[in-house]
């Protein structure tokens, strides 16, 4: 398939944009990556491709209309390039479990991670950290059940839930650094600790996982902007 046949609009710090890139790598699909610098404003292409949400990632495949929402894109990639390695598990129950945890991470867990960075005061921060740690406890258990002793949630190879969860590791590490704490570690979450290393060093992942230092710098800028906006709102 020619490179221009598949385009992906993303943004390098976004965990959501990482997901389809990992999926395309697993399937060995060549694609054109278009990086949006969202903090400088959104491009016309983005507005046209995702008029409903105006967000990345967006996958444009040939002449088809764009596909939006990272996990929907990942499932599309799995189904459209069905001859490559499978991303969703083959068993319907295991698929339901993978989808459940991916939705949990998006709807509940990652918002809690983000709230640590913008928490007002120690109490709020402690509560957010507790929620994140509780979630990691759940994911450690889920890892035991899904991996069945293998390296990944998907078994021997990276799967849907690995992609959904692993894409958050960059920001998790930045959060650990900013708060001088370990959230995933050998003591509390040994399964996840090994999994995280395996995931980040995987061929399909390592070139699209942002460097933690670069992400931390970016994170500082974002937090400063959010706090400034909050302060400005309060002044009115």
């Amino acid at each position: 398939m020619a490179t221009s046949e598949v385009k992906l609009l993303g943004s390098w710090p976004s965990p959501y944009a990482m997901r389809p890139r990992i999926a395309l790598n697993i399937k060995s699909v060549d694609y054109e990556y278009i990086d949006e610098k969202l903090w400088e404003g959104k491009s016309q292409l983005l507005f046209q491709s995702n008029p409903v949400y105006k967000k990345i990632p967006v996958l444009i495949h040939g002449h088809l209309k764009p596909i939006c929402e990272s996990l929907i894109i990942v499932q599309y990639i799995d189904e459209a390039w069905s001859s490559g390695p499978s991303i969703l598990p083959s068993d319907p129950y295991e698929r339901a479990v993978a989808r459940f945890w991916a939705a949990y991470l998006d709807d509940k867990w990652f918002p809690a991670v983000k709230s640590i960075g913008v928490a007002k005061g120690e109490e709020e921060k402690k509560a957010a950290i507790a929620q994140v740690e509780q979630g990691l406890g759940l994911m450690e258990e889920a890892f035991g059940q899904c991996s069945k002793g293998k390296a990944f949630f998907g078994g021997d190879e990276i799967g849907y839930l690995d992609i959904a969860f692993g894409s958050f590791l960059g920001w998790l590490r930045v959060t650990e650094r900013f708060n001088e704490m370990k959230l995933i570690d050998e003591a509390n979450t040994p399964g996840l600790a090994h999994w995280a290393d395996s995931f980040c060093s995987h061929a399909a992942v390592k070139d699209v996982m942002p460097d933690t230092d670069k992400l931390a710098e970016f994170g500082k800028m974002v937090i400063a902007k959010i706090k400034a906006a909050g302060a400005a709102a309060q002044r009115h």
Partner: protein
Amino acid sequence: MEGEVVLLDFWPSMFGMRTRIALAEKQIKYEYREEDLRNKSALLLQMNPVHKKIPVLIHNGKPICESLIQVQYIDEVWNDRAPLLPPNPYQRATARFWADFVDKKIYDLGGKLWRTKGEEQEAAKKELIECLKLLEGQLGDNPYFGGKDFGFLDVALVPFYCWFYTYEKFGRFSIEAECPKLIAWAKRCMQKESVAKSLADQEKIYDFVLHLKKALGIE
């Protein structure tokens, strides 16, 4: 293939209705268990410890949570009849995208119509109409969102039809006036036994919300 199928549900829940419709479409026999959400059963808490919410589908003792995940599971296990997702990957992605849009928008906006007043209610009404119009646009000239056949997105959205009466009464507007094609679609769906038997009565829903408002102390 069948095994034992149990559905933990709550009669007014649009999410539970999705799973009921999917089970009916596939003609699966199951045990329906009504949950009292103010007094959740031990089984519910055991089967959905993370969210403690209905609906919960239990197949051969194993729980599946989240309505759209349940509908996909039912479609994949009972894949020999009444397919809900089409075979084409692009069409599948489109159906999933709009079903996810329904999840992100309709429930919360509809809820604001009966929970809030004044400017907040007006803003919710305006946005709800915009969202319904966007969805209506996806129908095109087809009888169903699934095209010629009733499908995944139809299942995801049609349960809200029995809540429209409540939204209209509180919001003082007519959804049919704003989105006639959408209402025509909903009435078409109601001709199907799987839908008619799964949706709650709209007057009963309205009554339920009136009682709920009193119980929650909302004016």
